[in-house]
Each structure stands twice: as C-alpha cells, then as structure tokens.
Amino acid sequence: MLEVKNIKYSYNKDYQALKGVSLKVEDGEMVALLGKNGAGKSTLFLHLNGIYEPDEGQVFIDGEELKYDKKTLLKFRQKVGIVFQNPDDQIFAPTVEEDVAFGPLNLGLPMEEVQKRVTESLARVGMSGYEKKAPHHLSGGQKKRVAIAGILAMRPKIMVLDEPTAGLDPQGVTALTKLLKELNEEGITIIISTHEVNLVPDYAKKVFVLVDGLLIAEGTPKEIFSQPEILEQANLEVPIVTTLFHDLEKEGFDMENDYPLTIDEAKEKFKELLNKQ
C-alpha cells in the first residue's frame, strides 16, 4: 500500500508546485492520475521514491515511512519503480541489456540472478533478441519497452509511469496499455499519469484529479467523468464514447443518468436502447 500524506513542495519561494496532496493506493490497484500540463503530476511522482524530499508531509509504503538516508532510499527505490516520460532520459547505457541490468546490479544481486532478470524482463515486454542493440537505434515504442524492462528487472511492487503513452503511435498505445494491464494482473500496483481520457475507464479502477498542486477529486472513472465542473477545472474532457451519449440525450433519448465510458459499455447501452423502441 502506498500512502502520501499532505505533501507540500516548492521549487522556489514564489512557486509552490504541490500544496498539500494526500492519496492512498491499495496493493494490486491500477490507478490513473489526471491533470493538465504543469499541475504537478511529475513533481508528485518524484516524491514517491524519494527523489524529491517534500517541504512538509510524508510518504508511506506498507505503513513504513520514507526516510531520506541511503539505505531506506535504496529499499524504497526498489519497491517503487518510476518509468520516466521520455525514455531518452532514462536509458543511458550503450546496449539494451546493460541498461536493463543497471537497476538489479545497483541492488547488489549476484551476476547470475541479474542475467536471469534481464532475460526475463526483456521477454516480458516483448524485446527479446534486442539485447546487444544500441538504444538510440530503437524506435520510440521500443525504447519505452526497454525503459519498462529496466524497471521490471528490479521487481518493484509499485510501478509509476509518467505519461507512458505520450509520443506513441495508436498501435503502440494499445499494445502498451495491454502490457500494463497484464503486469497489473500479475500483481504489480500501477500508477499512471495521463491525458488520454479515452483509455482511462478501460484500465483504471480509481482516478485522481490534480489541479494546480491540489488533489480536487478522487473516485471511480464513472464518478469522475460525471462531474463536469471537475473536468472543466482540470482541462479534461469526457471520453469520446461518452460525448456521443450526451449528444443523444440532447436529442431526446433518456439515458437514466448512466453514460457509458468504454466501447463495451456503449455496446450494451445501444442494445438496451434499441430494444426499448
């Protein structure tokens, strides 16, 4: 379980990026953090494994408070893996395998175990066979997969992804979402920050909305997407499927306050509406 209590953080005295954020993510959950650009999502993420030390507030994992000494930090960074938005910021080694091995080696594991983890992690993200390749010869989607493998190799309990779908092509986005859902089913808690509202109801059980350094709402996708004033504040929109049903309601169809968020839900709703007539 990951718990953040009333975190405040300022970059300088005129600009407070986080103004007291508290949130709780249970084990095995897959949650989304929504918010416009500059809302403080990345800043919040960098607190979760102690890269930033908050001015006020605490971070807890499994009830244990994050302290900022070397030993505790290493332990927390093994438990909470962060996948950065731009894979170029994360992948630094001259070959793919060396980059994936970086985390486990820092944990001081024996070489055989590291080799095993590198092979497994690359296989898990579908990048087997690229071990000896230079990262800068890979495509954007492939780099993202390598970055995720680098985190997986540390066997984290919680995986935090900053805008993982940014810059990927549509098939890349679908494939990545599928991979993340599978990882979640295998037991990793996943926290994603994103603007891609269309995909959120598909994977997220819980949604947090961050606006100007404050958490203004949390709940299921259904709850969040039915509150227009919150979406307005966060510069967000409802998923495109939902827009369709709002429009249909204006034309006289009765929705009974139930607006589908995903394609599957929409299918059911259509059948229901067609049967009524």
Binding site: L46, N49, I51, K70, L74, R77, Q78, G81, I82, F84, N86, D88, D89, Q90, F92, A93, P94, T95, E97, E98, A101, F102, G103, L105, N106, L107, M111, V114, Q115, V118, T119, E131, K132, A134, P135, H136, H137, G150, I151, M154
Partner: protein, 230 residues
C-alpha cells in the same frame, strides 16, 4: 547520406572480432608510427589500414572519406601554421609578407607531422569504425583503467547522440523561420542555438540524474557481464 559512426561500428564485417586484439593493434600501431618518424612507414601504414577498413571490414568508401575529412581539415591548418610560423634554421622560402619565412626546420616539422597524423588516422579509424563503443569500454574496464574515466566516457558517449539530435531539431526549427539567411543572421542564430543548447543540457542532466537515482545509482556504474552464448 548521413554519416552515423555508431551504426557503422555495429554493422561491418569486423564488429564481432576480438575487441582486445583490435584495441592492442591500434595502440601498437599508434606508438610505432609516432616513435619511428619515418615517412615511408607512415605512407605504408596509411595504405594498409585503409585497405583493411575498406576491403576487409567492408566499410562504404564514402563513409570512410567523411571520417577522414573532419580531422583532415584541422591537420591541414595545423601544418600550414607549422610550416610558416615555427622553427629555426636556414630560410628556404620567403613570402615577403611581414617577414614570414619557411625554414628547413619548419618544413621538416610540417611534412613529418602531416604524414604521421595521416598514418594515425586510419589506425584509429580501424578501431572506431569497426568496434562498438560498449566493447571498447568493456576492454578498458578489464584492463583496470580508472572507473571514473570509463563512466564519464560512457555517459558522454550516450548523451552525445541526444545532444546532436537536439541541435539538429533546433537548427531545422530556426531554418523553417528564415534563420541562417544572411551572414549577420547566421551569427545570431548560432549564438541563440549555443546558449539554448547549454540551458537544455543542464536541464537534461538533472533529469538523467533523477532517473539514475530512481534505479538505485550510488555514484558508480556497475558492470554487467552478459551470459555466455551457447
């Protein structure tokens, strides 16, 4: 055609040969060339190594020429300076401008420096063009070269590609908006580019530090030994 040295190093006939052998051969050739100071030997090495690079490693001759041109420009400038502005001894040619003369000494220096460097270039090129950098670092590491040097080299090597990419993108953005269309304008554009790339580099270095820390970086890059291939 774009000249991508890293790509060439990974994709040529000699990529998979023993990196230790290549490294030692290069070092020995460099030392011998510099120590012997013999014009004929220099030319001999230049020809032999060029043949190795072009015929055995099968590297495209245009890439090889590009590899040679950049240092060659520096070499020519250096040698011109050597010939006209250095050395003592008998005057063999007077230019008649500000009393600048060519002496036997400076002529000798100029010519010998030129050919020595000419021999060293393909020797170095042999290593640089046929060996992926990861392998070179690996060799250096097992040879007990100080870790700090290897780490700096490693990080620099990787970031240089991101750096070049950024420069390329920014330059295109400037050109799209009529940059570099006159002499003065070019100077200003270049100045903007340089200051901007400096700020961005600082920013990037901080993000890289964060991402390394996130994976438990403790001030030392560990060395990974890949499993033996069956």
């Amino acid at each position: 055609m774009k000249f991508d040295m890293d790509y060439i190093a990974h994709n040529n006939e000699l990529s998979e040969t023993n990196p230790y052998f290549k490294l030692f051969l290069t070092i020995i050739l460099l030392i011998v060339t510099l120590a012997l100071d013999n014009l004929y030997f220099d030319i001999f090495i230049f020809i032999v190594m060029s043949i190795v690079i072009l015929a055995i490693a099968k590297i495209n001759y245009r890439s090889y020429l590009k590899f040679l041109t950049i240092p060659m420009a520096f070499l020519v400038i250096t040698c011109i300076f050597l010939i006209f502005f250095f050395g003592k001894g008998d005057v063999i040619y007077e230019t008649g401008i500000f009393g600048i003369v060519v002496t036997t000494d400076s002529w000798h220096y100029g010519i010998y420096t030129f050919f020595r460097v000419m021999a060293c270039l393909p020797s170095l090129g042999f290593l640089a063009l046929t060996t992926p950098i990861a392998k070179i670092f690996h060799c250096l590491d097992t040879m007990k070269v100080p870790k700090i040097l290897i780490e700096i080299g490693l990080l620099m090597y990787n970031t240089i590609f991101i750096f070049l990419n950024e420069i390329d993108t920014m330059q295109k953005a400037q050109k799209t908006r009529m940059g570099y269309n006159s002499y003065m304008n070019s100077m200003k554009c270049l100045a903007d580019l340089i200051s901007n790339i400096f700020l961005r580099s600082l920013d990037k270095s901080e993000t890289l530090q964060n991402s390394l820390d996130s994976r438990g970086y403790a001030g030392e890059l560990p060395v990974y030994v890949p499993p033996k291939e069956e």
